[in-house]
């Protein structure tokens, strides 16, 4: 039996201007190479969804819905902006968006790292289940909604409703925060939190900030007040 390495080619290029997303994803699900370039995505949906392996995928343009969804071990970079649900339900690996991301970035993601170098829209990290998200710019309203585990770092501002009904995810925001969501509160920044923040920024490639104590010092931490964990009729108005 051939070993995988013997059949691997160098880099395979797909042009979505002439080839279909199904063909691309079929190749990525049974890979014959470790590196892929995807040209002319033009907002196509589900580009590089369901990757399951240590593949390096460079997407040269803007993508539509659910890019890199369910990613496991893949290292996927979008040289443009991403539509709704980028890296939704990611299990592991790294997804990097050079531009902006639409709503529900990293929704329900269990593991891995999602880096958005620009801004993220509403509901960034909704129902996050253990992945890490680092956003270079701002996030829109309703970020970290019902986020259960994982970390979200926002280098810019966060919109209204941050952390509504949040469970145990931790959120770090450097800029302004709008009205906090129900049961979300600001928490102390201990040394362990500062170390965690530094590590996340470093992994995201934002080393300039990670190595600057003054930059790190402006971040504040948000999390759950844990008053909504158990239903209590006194709280019914807050749900």
């Amino acid at each position: 039996m051939e070993t995988l390495n013997e059949t691997l080619q160098e880099t395979i290029t797909f042009d979505l201007g002439t080839e279909g997303v199904r063909d691309l994803n079929a190749e990525l699900h049974a890979p014959t190479a470790r590196r892929y370039r995807v040209k002319n995505p033009l907002g196509a949906h589900a580009v590089a969804a369901g990757v399951d392996g240590d593949l390096e995928i460079l997407i040269e343009g803007d993508v539509g819905y659910y890019c890199a969804g369910m990613n496991q071990d893949g290292r996927i970079t979008v040289e443009g902006s991403a539509g709704p649900g980028v890296a939704e339900n990611m299990m592991s690996g790294v997804v990097r968006i050079r531009g902006n991301a639409s709503q529900s970035a990293g929704a329900t993601a269990h593991g891995g790292l999602l880096v958005i170098e620009g801004n993220a829209s509403t509901r960034c990290g909704i129902s996050l289940k253990g992945a890490d998200i680092v956003v270079g710019g701002d996030i829109g309203a309703m970020g970290a909604f019902m986020a259960q585990a994982g970390r979200i770092v926002v280098c810019g501002d966060a919109g209204d409703g941050l952390g509504d009904s949040i469970f145990e995810a931790r959120v770090y925001v450097r800029g302004e925060v709008g009205a906090l969501g129900a049961d979300c509160i600001e928490k102390d920044m201990g040394p362990e939190h500062r170390a965690e923040l530094k590590e996340l920024l470093t992994r995201a490639g934002m080393t300039e900030g990670a190595d600057d104590p003054a930059y790190l010092g402006r971040f504040r931490r948000y999390g759950s007040a844990r008053t909504l964990y158990h239903f209590n009729s006194d709280h019914s108005g807050r749900y």
Binding site: G43, A44, D62, S81, G83, Q103, T122, G140
Partner: protein, 297 residues
């Protein structure tokens, strides 16, 4: 799920390309709404010359033009253009005079569009086939919108197809669903407003048209809509001098705007904008929840 596109041309030199650009954009939203599609085109002077008005009708049979012309002595012929389910009549008369004549001559027909430079087409079927039937690629003008429908709350028929155009030159397309439309419908009915369908979007369109007729500008009318209506919506509303986008406060329904010195475009998805000329230089943004964005000609 439904799909929306809109294109508002700032550069008059691009008017000849309006239909071609819209047909290209439409391809990006077919999957969002495969059951029906409608279009409103503003400023196509081949279809509705200066000094003329156009009325779009459903349930009108060939020959209605002659029947309407009889009610309009001295205005010349009433041109008929049957496009699938839609019959477009044009005549050298004001919109009000033309619609009065239509109501008298063909009371069974439903008016689904009326304007001095706006023409509305509605129909059921694959959006790309409908775009052919509407001769969308040949259309010219300064503004146009289109909608592809995936019906969720009322029947798949031409009446339920968007745009809803219930005021002179006003068109509204909607992605989402209103939850309190029955209540607002009853309130408008008490004010004397009549309805053509059971569709929730028609209530939104009648509400906006009612506010505009009471003197609101488009932005004010849409802010008022945000206070009255519950539900999910991205709306694109056009008038004979404007173009406006608004999303509800939760903003689940997608929208993306591209603003370029030569044009403003809006679509449900980026892929509908990807091939517009100059898209790489355009300012791209998602409308913020609950905020009205309006442009004037």
């Amino acid at each position: 799920m439904c799909g929306i596109i809109g294109l508002h041309l700032r550069d008059p030199d691009m008017q000849g390309q309006l239909g071609e650009l819209m047909a290209e954009m439409l391809q990006g939203i077919v999957g969002r709404g495969p059951d029906s599609a409608g279009v409103a085109v503003y400023g196509d002077r081949k279809r509705c010359p200066e000094g003329f008005s156009a009325v779009s009708l459903l349930h009108a049979q060939p020959g209605v033009g002659a029947a309407v012309a009889e009610r309009l002595p001295g205005t010349g012929a009433v041109e008929e253009d049957r496009v699938g389910d839609t019959m477009v009549l044009t005549a050298q008369a004001s919109p009000e005079v033309l619609s009065t004549a239509v109501a008298a001559a063909v009371p069974e027909a439903k008016v689904v569009g009326l304007g001095e430079d706006m023409i509305v087409y509605k129909g059921v079927g694959n959006p790309l086939d409908l775009a052919e039937a509407y001769r969308l690629r040949d259309a010219s003008g300064w503004q146009g919108i289109a909608h592809t429908r995936m019906a969720t709350e009322s029947a798949i028929n031409a009446e339920g197809c968007h745009p809803f155009s219930v005021g002179v030159g006003v068109s509204l397309v909607h992605n989402g669903s209103f939850s309190n439309h029955a209540t607002i419908r009853r309130e408008l009915q008490r004010k004397g407003v009549t309805f053509d369908s059971q569709n929730d979007t028609e209530v939104g369109a009648r509400y906006v048209a009612n506010r505009l007729s009471e003197g609101d500008d488009l932005e004010t009318a849409l802010i008022a809509l945000g206070e009255e209506f519950d539900g999910f919506y991205t709306l694109l509303v056009t008038t004979e001098n404007g173009f406006a986008v608004v999303r509800d406060e939760i903003a689940c329904k997608p929208a993306i705007v591209a603003e370029h010195p030569r044009w403003v475009a809006m679509a449900s998805e980026f892929q509908a904008l990807a091939k517009l000329p100059g898209i790489d230089e355009a300012r791209l943004f998602e409308p913020e929840p609950g905020r009205v964005y309006a442009w004037k000609r």
